[in-house]
């Protein structure tokens, strides 16, 4: 019992540290530096501690300090309760979605079987969709409770966009579930041991639809009309400052990590190295004994998993800095008239093929 508790706590602490402690600040730095490289400029490099600038990494620390010390206000006529609640509702699902994502396989360590996932739920992927549905409330409440025409427009656009894209997103994932026959992410991950059973080969259309819908859920460019900088000033979070603002901002970045993690798990072999089975991996570290080999294999798998996640984060950032943004009616049209029928067709073909084979 105690050992189970310690194991769960260790996994939670690890994920929390990696996500909120490492990814969130690093992603801020990556956004600045990657955009700078793409745009032929240097990016932010002025923040220093005792004259030592770590290529701009201290800017994340400077951001955190600045946002902590900013005045925290609620606009005059706004609904104070919802105004304060909205950032939390937006942030918590982004962090909590990571609970079912496996960042490694099963290992035999010291007589225990360690499953590198915080909660191995039966319903697996549906948990993520449920949380994504909750996250919608955050933006809508933020837009509505600020009592400002601009925020209202942003909140309205956000609610319509996020609701529509959840439908298409769900349908695109059902194809994957049919192919692998299980809702559990650990099972789907384990089944991708063989390189040619990776999701990208079995469900290429599903991957494209899922990626598009996920970027739309996250309200990144090209789908960032709810916070369209040049039209709505800052859309639904115009009236936020300080820590509440950073919660929205962190929610966006953490959701990017979540999206990348889900894409990796479902379509790109989760924690597996291509053409390397689990047994092969363990055999490489035989010299360290069974426990040592398991531990080293665990480490390698975690690193591979997060490397793939980083690749997809890089991809999302590249898309963000290249494309212009859609107009509101074009976003809606794309979801309901293009992505939804496409995902339904994908679903039917997948079902047919699985039935016949």
């Amino acid at each position: 019992m105690l050992a189970d508790l310690i194991e769960s706590l260790a996994k939670i602490v690890f994920i929390f540290t990696v996500n909120v402690g490492v990814f969130a600040p690093i992603l801020g730095w990556v956004e600045r530096k990657q955009s700078a490289v793409m745009q032929d400029r240097i990016g932010a490099n002025r923040a220093d501690i005792l004259g030592f600038t770590a290529i701009g990494l201290f800017h994340s620390l400077a951001d955190a300090l600045k946002l902590l010390t900013k005045e925290d206000f609620v606009p005059a006529n706004a609904n104070k309760f919802f105004h304060t609640l909205a950032p939390f509702i937006a942030l918590v699902p982004a962090i909590a979605a990571f609970a079912i994502i496996p960042f490694g396989g099963r290992y035999e360590l010291f007589g225990r079987e360690i499953n590198l996932v915080i909660a191995d739920l039966d319903v697996g992927i549906l948990y993520v969709f449920a949380l994504a549905g909750l996250a919608t409330y955050g933006t809508v409440l933020a837009g509505w409770s600020s009592r400002s025409n601009w925020s209202l427009l942003g909140g309205l656009r956000a609610s319509a966009q996020m609701l529509s894209y959840e439908v298409a997103m769900g349908l695109s994932i059902i194809g994957v579930i049919i192919v692998y026959g299980s809702l559990r992410l650990t099972d789907i991950g384990a089944m991708q041991e063989d390189f040619f059973r990776w999701g990208i080969f079995l469900q290429p259309v599903g991957f494209i639809i899922y990626m598009t819908c996920a970027i739309a859920e996250n309200k990144r460019i090209p789908f960032d009309i709810p916070e369209a900088e040049s039209e709505l000033v800052a859309g639904y979070f115009t009236e936020y400052s300080g820590m509440k603002f950073v919660m929205f901002w962190m929610a966006e970045f953490l959701e990017m990590v979540t999206i990348s993690a889900i894409v990796t798990t479902l379509f790109f072999g989760a924690w597996h190295i291509p053409f390397v089975t689990d047994a092969m991996l363990l055999s490489w570290f035989q010299s360290a004994g069974p426990n040592g080999a398991a531990a080293l294999a665990m480490l390698v798998n975690i690193v591979v998993f997060f490397a793939k996640v980083s690749f997809f984060i890089w991809l999302q950032m590249t898309i963000r800095w290249t494309l212009p943004r859609f107009r509101y009616d074009q976003v809606m049209r794309m979801c309901w008239k293009m992505l939804l029928p496409l995902s339904l067709i994908n679903l039917s073909i997948t079902g047919l093929v699985v039935l016949l084979l």
Binding site: A228, T322, L323, P324, R325
Partner: protein
């Protein structure tokens, strides 16, 4: 749509895209009456940058007006300078030397480059294509470096004088021009690849802000916006001034007058401006750059400090101003946005009796309600961008 509204008791929402807003560059206020996201009515309010240009000109000498003209269309200041100087020279009835004309053409085209680069960059920025914005801002920086080497300032240039110019070309200007144009052409190709065939960009700008040629003429459109409607009117070709009749360049014409055509016309004009500058540099003769009339154009300091008649002329023109004979003229040049006209009235004294600027973007901004009525709120952004309203010019 309005049937549903009647049953549902909806109201129109009035939104104020106020003078300080990321997209209303140039400080303009839009009062948009919205039904959902569709614009029912748009009220445009300008005048936030009105500085009293005409009143100030009536109280300064003819030469002292030139720095004020810099600040009219502040992204293409050399064109304003040239237009004003040409108008005064028409009033005086004098002609400047050949070399001066070629140099003025070069200066005008460099300014036009800066204007079009800024406009396309801002359009990209406001549609979310941040990278295209920064590429063209880099190109604009290089063009400004050229202008700085020519006259010492990047934006408020104050380079053209009545009867000549401030100074001749610096050393190795041709080399710098060659280098800068190579970079600008490279960046032009980059932005072209990013935007011109980009489906998202085309969806945002095609079909938006379209206007027919007859309506455009009735509204007084000129410049790239009019040429995008299919009307081939360019002051440089219709009524050539300076040495534009010796230059070989094309004037791009659009078809439907929507924002996409305006964007394409501007992109092509960037290429044509570079052509003109290269031709002018090749054809330019040697010679003086100022006209030899001491009562109009000041002589070099060596002469003023050594000869009494130069000193007297210098004193009179600085203290009292040059004195064109009484009369009135209208001189039109092709500005970045269209026909920039100067209407000058002289009463024989050293100060203008009236100095009127015909701002091209005044007529364009007046047509804003017509262009966006019935479209979505998000369509104000690319439409207003492509009109290229410059606050300094519209409000003076």
């Amino acid at each position: 749509m309005s049937e549903i509204s009647k049953d549902l008791h909806t109201e129109y929402m009035v939104i104020n895209m106020g003078p300080s807003h990321p997209v209303t560059h140039g400080t303009v206020k839009f009062l948009a009456t919205l039904e959902g996201e569709t614009i029912v009515d748009l009220d445009v309010e300008i005048g936030y940058l009105h500085r009293g240009f005409e009143k100030m000109c009536e109280n300064s000498t003819w030469q002292q007006v030139i720095p004020y003209t810099d600040r009219l269309n502040y992204v293409s200041p050399l064109i304003n300078n040239t237009g004003y100087a040409l108008a005064v020279e028409k009033l005086l009835g004098i002609d400047v030397p050949e070399r001066c004309k070629y140099l003025r053409v070069i200066a005008c085209e460099l300014s036009r480059l800066s204007d079009h680069l800024t406009n396309v960059a801002a359009a990209g920025l406001e549609l979310g294509a941040f990278t295209a914005f920064l590429y063209f801002v880099e190109a604009r920086e290089l063009v400004w470096d050229l202008i700085e080497s020519l006259c010492g300032a990047r934006v408020t240039v104050n380079y053209v004088r009545i009867g000549g110019l401030k100074n001749d070309l610096p050393e190795r200007f041709e080399e710098k021009v060659r280098y800068v144009f190579k970079e600008v052409r490279r960046l032009w190709v980059d932005v072209d690849k990013l935007l011109t065939k980009n489906r998202i960009f085309i969806d945002r700008v095609r079909g938006v802000g379209a206007i027919s040629a007859e309506e455009a003429i009735a509204y007084g459109f000129t410049g790239p916006c009019l040429r995008a409607c299919g009307v081939p009117y360019d002051v440089r070709k219709a009524q050539p001034y300076l040495v534009y009749d010796r230059m070989d360049f094309e004037v791009p014409i659009g078809e439907t007058g929507d924002n996409y055509d305006k964007y394409l016309v501007r992109m092509e004009e960037i290429q044509q401006s570079m052509r003109i500058v290269e031709q002018a540099l090749a054809q330019m003769p040697d010679g003086p750059i100022n006209v030899r009339l001491p009562q109009v154009r000041m002589e070099p300091k060596e002469k003023i400090y050594s000869r009494i008649d130069s000193l007297i002329y210098h004193f009179k023109t600085v203290i009292e101003g040059i004195k064109p004979p009484p009369g009135e003229v209208y001189q039109a040049v092709e500005g970045g946005n269209g026909e920039l006209g100067f209407y000058l009235v002289s009463d024989g004294s050293g100060k203008p009796y009236k100095c009127r600027v015909r701002p091209p973007c005044f007529a364009l901004t007046a047509a804003m309600p017509r262009l966006v009525k019935g479209r979505l709120l998000a369509d104000i952004v690319p439409t207003f961008d492509m009109i290229n309203m410059i606050g300094g010019e519209c409000d003076r």
